[in-house]
Subunit: 469 residues, 2 copies
C-alpha cells in the first residue's frame, strides 16, 4: 500500500501546480512548461491566487485548490514557505493524496522554519497525505511523461534504466541536466527528496524494487530520516538491484555544510563506510564516480571474480591500466603464454606478447579492427579472466574505419558472456561518436582509463554482494 502511495508520485493521473505565474523564470512556470513539453497524458492545472480563472499558457487556472472542480491526485507547491501550510490545509480538505513541496525555508532555516514544518506535518499525518520535500526539484518519471522539476528539460528526454534519488534540489537539477546531455544511459525515475520531512530514500527504494524500468539506483544522500530503516532497506534491495551511494557530509566540514543546507545531521563517515559496504551498498566518492558505476551496473552482467584482462592499443596505456588496477585493488589476470600463442604467431619477430596485451605490434600486421577482434577474443577466452578492459585509441587512422570497431566488438563480446568496459582515448568528437555506438549496445565507455578500471571494480564489488564470487 505504501508502494502505491509512492507510485502516485511517479505516475499521477492529475496534477496541480500551485504558484505557477506568467513569469517564465519562476520555478512553478518551468514545471508547467516541462509537463507540456513532455506531453504529460494526465490533466494538469495551475493554481494561482492572483490569476483568477483564466488560462496561463493554455493551461486552466484556478484561484485555489478548493475552487477546483475535482481535486488533483498530486499537487506541486512552488509558493513561499510561509504560505505552504495554508495550501496543505486546503489539500487535506479536498482530498489531495500526494504533495511535492519545491519551496525552501523550513528545517534548514532554523526554529521558525521547523515550527512551520511541524504544523504542516500535524495536518498531513491526520489525513495521510504523502509529501516529497520541501526544498527540492521533486520528481522525474520519463516513462509516465511526468515531472515536477523546475529545471528546463530537453525535449528528447532519454528513457533509461538508472534511477536517481537525490537529497538536494538545485544540485539534482544540474546533475540531471548533466546526465541527460553528457551521458547516454538515460534515467528511469528521479526523486529529489530535499529535506525529507516525510518520504525518504527507503520509501523510494521500496517502490523501485519491483519497478521494471529500473536496473540500478544512484543515491546522493546527506542524511537519512531513519538510518536503521535505510540500512535494512538497502540490504534487502541490494540483493535484487545495485545501489550506488554518494554520501554528502563525509567530513566535519561537509557535515556542517549539509546541516545548513538540508538540516541533515551526518554521522561519522569512517564508521558508516564499513556499515554501508556490509549491507551491499556500492560507495562513490563523487558525482562522476556515481554516474560511472551506475552505468556499468545498468549495462553489464556480473563477473565471477576480480581478475581483469586488459587489451590496449598502446604500451603506455597498458602501463597506466596496470598501475591503476593494482592501486585500486583489482587483480590483473594471470594469462599464460600458451593462451596467447595465437597472437604471438601473428606478431613481427621482435615483439613478444605479454599481458596486459599491447596490440600495437599486432595492428601493424593485421590492421586496427582485426587486432582488437583477435585480442578481445583471446583475452575473454582465458580461464583466468573474469572481466575485461579494452583501451581504444582513436584518431590515428581513418575515422570511418575506426568507428567500425563497434561491429567488430559486438559479436565477440556477446559470445564471451563476460563483462567489460571500454576506455576511449583520442579526439573528443570521434570518441563521443564511438561511445554512442558502443553504449547503444550496452557496452559502457569511459574517457579515462582510471574511471573505467574503477567502474569495473564497482561491478566486481557488487558481484560479490550478489554471491557471484
Amino acid at each position: 500500500m505504501s508502494v502505491d502511495e509512492i507510485r502516485r508520485f511517479f505516475e499521477p493521473r492529475s496534477v496541480a501546480v500551485v504558484g505557477a505565474s506568467r513569469n517564465p523564470v519562476k520555478f512553478g512556470s518551468v514545471v508547467v512548461y516541462n509537463l507540456k513539453n513532455m506531453g504529460f497524458p494526465g490533466t494538469f492545472s495551475i493554481v494561482n491566487s492572483e490569476a483568477g480563472t483564466e488560462e496561463i499558457r493554455g493551461v486552466r487556472c484556478y484561484p485555489s485548490i478548493k475552487s477546483m472542480d475535482k481535486p488533483p491526485e498530486l499537487a506541486v507547491l512552488a509558493v513561499p514557505a510561509r504560505s505552504v501550510t495554508a495550501v496543505i490545509r486546503e489539500c487535506a480538505d479536498v482530498g489531495v493524496k500526494n504533495v511535492v513541496i519545491i519551496s525552501s525555508g523550513f528545517s534548514e532555516a532554523g526554529e521558525s522554519g521547523q515550527k512551520m514544518l511541524d504544523e504542516m506535518l500535524t495536518i498531513v499525518r491526520k489525513v495521510g497525505i504523502r509529501i516529497v520535500g520541501p526544498n527540492t526539484t521533486g520528481i522525474l518519471s520519463p516513462g509516465a511523461r511526468f515531472t515536477t522539476t523546475f529545471v528546463p528539460l530537453p525535449s528528447n528526454l532519454k528513457r533509461g534504466s538508472v534511477a536517481f534519488i537525490s537529497q538536494t534540489g538545485m544540485f539534482a537539477g544540474v546533475m540531471l541536466s548533466h546526465i541527460l546531455t553528457a551521458e547516454r544511459f538515460g534515467v528511469s525515475r528521479v526523486a529529489g527528496l530535499g529535506n525529507k520531512c516525510d518520504v525518504d530514500d527507503s520509501d523510494i527504494l521500496e517502490f523501485l524494487y519491483d519497478d521494471p524500468d529500473t536496473r540500478a539506483v544512484m543515491i546522493y544522500m546527506e542524511g537519512a530520516s531513519s538510518g536503521r530503516r535505510f540500512l535494512e532497506t538497502a540490504r534487502w534491495f541490494s540483493q535484487k538491484k545495485p545501489i550506488v551511494l554518494l554520501k554528502g557530509g563525509r567530513t566535519p566540514e561537509g557535515a556542517k555544510a549539509a546541516f545548513s543546507h538540508t538540516g541533515s545531521l551526518a554521522g561519522r563517515y569512517e564508521v558508516m563506510e564499513d556499515i554501508f559496504r556490509r549491507e551491499g551498498i556500492i560507495l562513490a566518492g563523487d558525482m562522476d564516480e556515481m554516474i560511472d558505476y551506475a552505468k556499468i551496473l545498468a549495462y553489464q552482467g556480473l563477473p565471477r571474480g576480480m581478475r581483469l584482462g586488459v587489451v590496449s592499443m598502446s604500451g603506455g596505456a597498458a602501463v597506466m591500466a596496470s598501475d591503476v588496477t593494482s592501486e585500486i585493488g583489482l587483480q590483473l589476470a594471470k594469462v599464460t603464454r600458451e593462451e596467447l600463442r595465437g597472437i604471438q604467431e601473428l606478431l613481427p619477430e621482435w615483439a613478444r606478447v605479454n599481458h596486459p596485451l599491447d596490440i600495437e605490434p599486432l595492428m601493424e600486421r593485421v590492421g586496427g579492427n582485426e587486432a582488437y577482434k583477435i585480442s578481445m577474443e583471446t583475452i575473454l577466452k582465458c580461464t583466468g579472466v573474469d572481466m575485461a578492459l579494452l583501451i581504444v585509441g582513436l584518431g590515428i587512422f581513418d575515422e570511418e574505419r575506426e568507428s567500425k570497431i563497434v561491429d567488430v566488438l559486438i559479436p565477440v563480446v556477446k559470445s564471451a558472456a563476460k563483462p567489460l568496459a571500454v576506455a576511449l582515448l583520442g579526439p573528443r568528437s570521434h570518441c563521443d561518436h564511438v561511445a554512442a555506438l558502443l553504449e547503444e549496445m550496452k557496452i559502457p565507455t569511459y574517457m579515462s582509463i582510471t574511471r573505467a578500471v574503477k567502474s569495473l571494480t564497482a561491478l566486481a564489488a557488487y558481484a560479490r554482494v550478489r554471491g557471484k564470487h
Copy 2:
C-alpha cells in the same frame, strides 16, 4: 650548446622524412601530411629507396639521404628497425645533426634489438648526432609549425603555453589528440621521447627553461636514463616553472608492463614519490589529473596559502566541495559573519549566510549573475581566503543570460588578484560554451568539483615550492 642541439628538434630549418610512401596509412606519410597541413616554413623532402626521384604528394623525393643535394638538419626515420642503422650511418656521413626515430623494435624487443641500438649509438656518439626515440611520435612545435608525429593533427592547431614530454609513442599521440580537441589551453612543445636512447627528459627541460612559449610542463615518464640527473634538473627547473609528473610503472604490475613497453626499469614508487615531491615536482595520478593541474598552473598566479573560499550555486554542491576539500587536505577558509554581513542583508529572512557560500537564496533576490558577482567579490576580499572555487550551475535559466557570467566574473577576478577555479555543472554543450569563454580569459574550468579542488591543491602545492607560503 646542448640547448641549441635540442632547439633544432623543435625548430629545424630543413627536414627529411625517411620511409614515407604513397600509402597514406603509413606513419611516414602522415608526418609529411602534417608538415604540409601545418605550413612548415622550412624545406622538407621524402627519402624512400623505392620511390626514385619523383614527387610524392608534391614533395621532392630522394632514393637515399646521401643522394640529397643538401643534408637536412633533421631526419625522421619511419623505416623498419633493421634498416635504421644503415640510415643513421648515411646521416653521419653527410652531416645530419638531429634524428627522430619513430620505428619500434629496439630495447623493448630484447637482446637483438639492444644489439642494433648499441651499434647505432656507437656511430652517433662519434659524430655527435642527437637522437629522439626510438619507438615514438617525436616532436610537435606549433610555434615553429613543425612536427614529426604520425598522428593526424587538426589544421586549427591551438598554440598554448603547456609543454608535454611523454615516453610513449602511440599514447602521446592519442593523448595529444585529446588535449587538442577536449581542452582549450593548447600546447607549446611536445616531445615524445620513446625509449630515450639519447635525448631524455632532462635535455628537454634544459631547453624549456628559457623557452618563452612554455609556462608549465607535463611529463609522462616510465623511466629516466639517469634518475639523478632528472631530479637535479627538475629541482632547478621547478624554481622557475612547474613540472606535473605522471609516473608510469608505479606498481610492480605497472613496472612489468613498462619494461615490456619501453624497456624501462621503474623503481619503487613509494620511495620515489617523496623524493619527487621534495624536488618540487607536482605528482598526478592519471592523465586527467596531469592535464587538469597543468591547466591551472599555466593559467593562474600562485596563492599565498592553502585556504580555500567556496561559492556555490547549490547547497548540495557546497557540501560536496567541503567534503572533497577536507579529504584532499586543503583548508576550507575561515570566514567571519562580519565579512559576510553585506550578503546576509540581501537574503530572505529565513536564510542564514555561511561559508561555503550557498548562493541559491541570494539568487532568488538579486538574480543569478548578480549573486555570483557579489559573492565572489565578498569571498575574494576575505583576509582568510588565499584562493577560490566557484561552482556554477547552468541550464536553470535562460542560456544567453547564463553565459553572461563571464562578463560578470572577469572584472571581479582581475581586481582580486587571487587565483581561482570554476566548476561547471549542467547541460554539456552549455558548459562547454561557458568553459571556452572563461578559459579564453585564463580562468580554468572543470566539469567536476573534485577535479577543480584537486587542481587548486596542486596550485597551492606548487606555490609552496616557490616559497609563496
